[in-house]
């Protein structure tokens, strides 16, 4: 029998053997782990997806972070702090997962800063009112939950495990957002209008978070075959719409889609088509806040350089002192 170690067997045999082992592991619905052999395409797809996901969490701190200093009460400020801190944490869980694929975290940061890797289009929209904080929690984190719950069963072990941690925390994010909106809806007419305005601005952008429609999503089929993804973009988008409609009714806001209605036959809501040309535009860099977000991220990285260097210098000094004491 030929194995990877059998020096006598030609390389192609060895690779075929490894490939069939990999395929069998996927077919048995078992997880691929960091030191397993994997096809180069699988590794590349995962690096791209996990890095993009990590970058989204990190950039995602910005739109809401802007409201930390202006939150209307200490309660809301504490909640928002905790939430934005969670986003940082989610980014780090994901960078940690990406690193198990043999890519360096500094390299991923570099790729983001140079625009060679992307982040979710949703974070390129502005947050002009405090109601946006609530709507982001309700829509954006709600959509993230739809996307991420199936990823807890993704075929790559470290990614799936990171998603389990993240999903537990996203539930807090969604609920705090919805509760914030409920509170505003019990307030003045002006506050209710702020909520409706935020809903109008975020609805379509949130639907686009699920990516292009299935017939225009070239990487989806392979990702599903590898069980990195478990559901198609349109399936998840439908799930989000069905989940959100009754929540909107309870809140007393209108979702800005005249085509939105229950379809008895399908057992789902019908809804209008998002403007996917806008999605393409925003992804390619031409959204309302792309330049601002990248500029902020770059500045944070550069302005933090002295802290990283000082910590390294301190660690080197402590280590040298410990060595000297041990030698004495």
């Amino acid at each position: 029998m030929s194995t990877a170690h059998a020096a006598a067997s030609p390389d192609s045999d060895a690779v075929q053997e490894l490939e069939s082992q990999f395929d069998a592991t996927i077919a048995r619905d078992q997880r691929i782990e960091p030191r397993d052999w994997m096809p180069e395409g699988y590794r590349k797809t995962l690096v791209r997806q996990i890095a993009q996901h990590a970058h989204s969490e990190i950039i995602g701190m910005q739109p809401e972070g802007e409201w930390i200093t202006r939150a209307p009460s200490l309660r809301r400020k504490s909640i928002l702090f905790a939430k934005v801190q969670d986003e940082a944490g989610h980014g780090l869980y994901l960078y940690s997962a990406a690193e198990t694929l043999g890519i360096d975290r500094a390299e991923l940061t570099q790729r983001l800063l140079e625009g060679r890797q992307k982040y979710s289009s949703i974070f390129n929209y502005p947050t002009p009112s405090f109601a946006d904080v609530g709507v982001i929690g309700w829509f954006v984190d709600g959509a993230a939950i739809c996307n991420q719950v199936p990823l807890c069963r993704s075929s790559y072990g470290p990614y799936a495990r990171a998603m389990v941690r993240i999903c537990k925390e996203e539930s807090f994010h969604q609920r705090q957002g919805y509760e914030l909106l409920l509170t505003m809806m019990r307030g003045t007419r002006e506050q209710r209008e702020m909520v409706q305005d935020a809903v109008d601005r975020w609805w379509w952008a949130s639907l686009m978070m699920f990516g292009p429609p299935d017939d225009d999503s070239p990487n989806s089929a392979q990702s599903m075959a590898w069980k990195i993804k478990r559901h198609s973009n349109d399936e998840l988008r439908q799930r989000f719409v069905d989940m959100t409609v009754p929540q909107a009714a309870k809140l007393g806001v209108t979702l800005p889609d005249p085509e939105l209605r229950w379809n008895e036959e399908r057992g789902h809501h019908d809804y209008g088509t998002p403007d996917y040309s806008e999605l393409k535009r925003v992804i390619s860099g031409d959204g309302p806040c792309n330049a601002e977000r990248m500029e902020r991220r770059r500045a944070a990285h550069e302005e933090g350089a002295w802290v990283r260097e000082a910590a390294s210098a301190h660690a080197a000094k402590q280590a040298a002192r410990a060595r000297a004491e041990a030698a004495a």
Binding site: W37, E99, A311, S312, A313, H314, A315, K317
Partner: protein, 100 residues
Amino acid sequence: MSDTQNEKREWPLYEVFVRGKRGLNHVHVGSLHAADDQMALTHARDLYTRRNEGVSIWVVRSEHIAASTRDEKDPFFAPSADKVYRHPTFYDIPDDVPHI
């Protein structure tokens, strides 16, 4: 290596292990970068135990972990595969013998 080179290098990678509560083993939860052990511990606390997930944390430089090879068919695990007599179910005991 000079200090200057050291400063330019990225912080080393640490693996993090958390004891969820008393009576449980430490379990691997992920990794992080830190300049030294102390910073690795505080970062691990901030990153992996924001909601009372742990009562104790271990951190270890990733490069200090020795691991078995990746191939499942490696003979490394072979010694345990063919010794069925190590399992209690290998032994036939009459049903009417109590407590065994």
